[in-house]
Symmetry: C2
């Protein structure tokens, strides 16, 4: 598709749909919609539209289809792969879902919440909490990420171990198709085997097949018992052995199992306000263990205590503490969630969101560490993440006193090194952040031609005019 700057008439027609107050074009107004959260990508747009209803979204897409105008749906713009920002040097129109932020219904008996795609994740969590239910999706950016973006990237986060990704948390969807037609798939059913799984096709499609405007999400009874422990371990092997023990002993009550390196504890205690090392002893690695039991506080206590006893007896745990209050539980999670922001003051950081089969984590980490420190002497590897899911955020802070720009200039090179090891272990180059623009060409390079071809056929079947978020996930030509 060649770049066609929309004519003033076309801009006026789009503006008519949402009203002049919700069609932004001034540089200062549109600036926040253009930059990907890490600043790696900066796009261009003639127009940001902020529709206030599904009907307006539909009219926008219909007009876009007729005029072959590329549309980029955007939620909270917290993504890490430049999937929600317009392309650079093109004339993509941004369609922000931010005004579609109504909770349509909440049913604590049926355990569902029906929400507009523009609802902020934290608001959904709060609405569930208000009716004594849990919406378990939880991630660092939950105060600004929006449900439509969470769905479009099949978001993961810290509760995947017990509750699954966004795909497992969604029962039904409402999607505006590229033509403006609305697919009403807002079902509240736990079981429904009636034809192809359209829902899961739109989830994780990063806005390239249509615009998600509403969703039925699952709620859960709130666990009555909640305990968080923090344990120092000798190495990644021991962390994995402890995970296996925890998983067998606690089953689905194991709601979090997060790995952190000593360096991460140093970064967070140094840079993040209020974070303190909860232990007096120093360990090479740490795990945060989160346990939720349905019935009582006592059962969670019993469980965390037996787990720590078993872990110490087995020799997997060097030292451990159990949070004694809600405040302490939050403080431990705050430390874990600060791992990524705490890297910023340390200079440039090259990031990887990868997964490998759980049992390959130690081998993958050892091999990656060796090759990366050889390629970038002095590199400070701060790899942390969701061990139970096999998902490691393999982040690399620049060497002390290195030139930040020169270090960041090696982003692709270092990615290639790490991803090669990931592939050796049959892993994924994007465990939870998606593909967007950042990993699009790499995906095409590593996947079989038939797999890319099947995806291209789906794209073409749903969006023959190629107006939906072009050049994301798949190359547009």
């Amino acid at each position: 598709m060649t770049t066609i700057i929309p004519s003033p008439e076309l801009i006026a027609s789009f503006t008519d749909i949402v009203g002049p107050g919700n069609a932004l074009a001034m540089p200062a107004e549109i600036a926040p919609y253009l930059v990907e959260s890490r600043g790696l990508y900066r796009g261009t747009t003639p127009l940001v539209l902020r529709p206030g209803s599904v009907e307006e979204v539909s009219r926008i897409l219909q007009l876009a289809s007729e005029t072959r105008t590329p549309i980029v749906p955007q939620g909270g713009n917290t993504g890490h792969v430049a999937g929600g920002v317009p392309r650079e040097g093109k004339a993509d129109v941004v369609l922000s879902l931010e005004r579609l932020n109504r909770i349509r219904d909440i049913d604590p008996v049926g355990n569902v919440i029906v929400a507009d795609a523009g609802c902020i994740l934290a608001d959904i969590q709060k609405a569930a909490d208000d009716v004594d239910r849990l919406f378990p999706l939880s991630l660092g950016s939950e105060g600004s990420a929006r449900i439509g973006g969470n769905l479009s990237t099949n978001a993961g986060g810290t509760a995947v171990l017990a509750y699954g990704n966004m795909r497992q948390l969604c029962l039904g969807l409402e999607v505006v198709l590229p033509t403006g037609e609305v697919w009403d798939g807002l079902r509240r059913l736990k079981k429904d085997n009636t034809g192809y799984d359209l829902r899961d096709l739109f989830i994780g499609a990063e806005g390239t097949l249509g615009v998600i405007t509403g969703a039925v999400l699952k709620l859960f009874p709130k666990p009555r018992g909640h305990q968080v422990a923090f344990a120092g371990v000798k190495g990644v092997e021991d962390a994995l052995a402890l995970f296996e023990r925890a998983s067998s002993l606690c089953g689905p009550a194991l709601t979090g199992f997060e790995l952190m390196p000593r360096l991460g504890i140093e970064f967070t205690t140094r840079h993040i306000h209020g974070v303190r090392d909860p232990m007096e002893t120093v360990h090479p690695w740490y795990v945060l263990i989160d346990i939720s039991t349905p019935d009582s506080a006592e059962s969670a206590e019993r469980m965390v205590e037996s787990l720590l006893e078993a872990g110490i007896a087995d020799g997997f745990i060097e030292n451990a503490v159990i949070a004694q209050s809600d405040g302490q539980r939050k403080a431990l999670w705050h430390m874990r969630e600060s791992m990524s922001p705490a890297q910023k003051p340390e200079g440039g950081s090259i990031k990887h969101d990868v997964s490998v089969p759980v049992s390959s984590i130690p081998a993958f980490m050892a091999e990656a560490d060796a090759i990366v420190t050889k390629a970038v002497p002095g590199a400070r590897i701060c790899a942390f993440g969701h061990v139970g899911d096999g998902n490691i955020h393999y982040n690399i802070s620049q060497p002390v006193d290195a030139d930040t720009q020169a270090f960041l200039g090696r982003w692709r090179e270092v990615n290639a090194i790490v991803h090669a090891i990931v592939l050796k272990y049959n892993g994924s180059i994007s465990a939870e952040h998606g593909i967007g623009q950042l990993k699009r060409d790499e995906l095409a390079a590593i996947r079989s031609p038939i797999e890319i071809e099947l995806m291209q056929r789906i794209k073409h079947a749903f969006d023959p005019a190629g107006i939906m978020n072009p050049d994301k996930v798949l190359r547009a030509d």
Copy 2:
């Protein structure tokens, strides 16, 4: 597609691929492949092929594509919607997966099993058990159903409440596409957000998009505690109230919650060898409660006892028993699983596999009972099922002494009555059995044109020649 009887040359070419011993054409040999499990459908075929490798499946499909020969993949032929049998009066070639029955790998540390699609479900359960792991999919026909069929129908069963449908139990797939190309999606990753969700598109597609030949399935640590209780309740409302209580008290430890009517207890005790009513009191409805705890037998005991105490205190339970041994636990489940076979000796039975939002179950049941008994005076409604999933097998036995054929002749009419009520409650006309031929035209009638259109586009994108299981799920023309 018009019916073209394959030429002797084509038959010979197909036969060459699998060898003469595995290309069946004699009426006695092919008979078992033609009839759907309930006998409602009987198809025709010139040839049943039993390939012994993925390579042979690939060559069969390549030849079928070149010659436009319709192919019907078949697993254990235990389906209930005639999705796995050839069409009547056509010349579909049956491709049986029964010889592809090798377990390729089992990894108790990584908690995965990799299996050929033709493996029998019970064999997968056994292989998992042998390494102290659980493969939770469990259903009445598990002794003959095959994994490829379970995947192609997104099978449910009795453990969905805690573990999900087949879609939630599968990490990766190997699929032979209509052209014979093989998509290797045999990934072992819990998190992998790299493009469109091809896996979940093939799962539940009933063999209309390609032939699943292998899968990576999830295993789970075996629960150490297991308790089964059986409770008599006054009505469906009380059963649902008890479910809510159980779900909040036990969380994911609630691994089964099945509803049965008094009539079902009478049918099973009357006709099924070894089934006895476990209680001396008589109740209008019963629930089977299955609890599995990860850590210990004691925690399961504690949990089931507190649940029954709470249920009695709340007035939801009239009487209850707890199984005292593994034998008693099995006996209670055997009773539940005999609900459907026990209807056979009672004459004809018109069946519905429907779901509604969980909170609508009592209203749906009351309304359906009233309308059905009005339409078919004397009809004996034996509705049972997975209450926690909203999935009711709303089965209707013929009136005593009625003419069986005349009663079964009203199948479509009664279906229409029941399904109209299901749709009123925004339910599904196929909760777990799929669409096949039985519900294909009904699906087209009740779903929005755009939804059917999207499915047709997917079908066309994957199978442009229309050779894959034509006329199943969607009409072929």
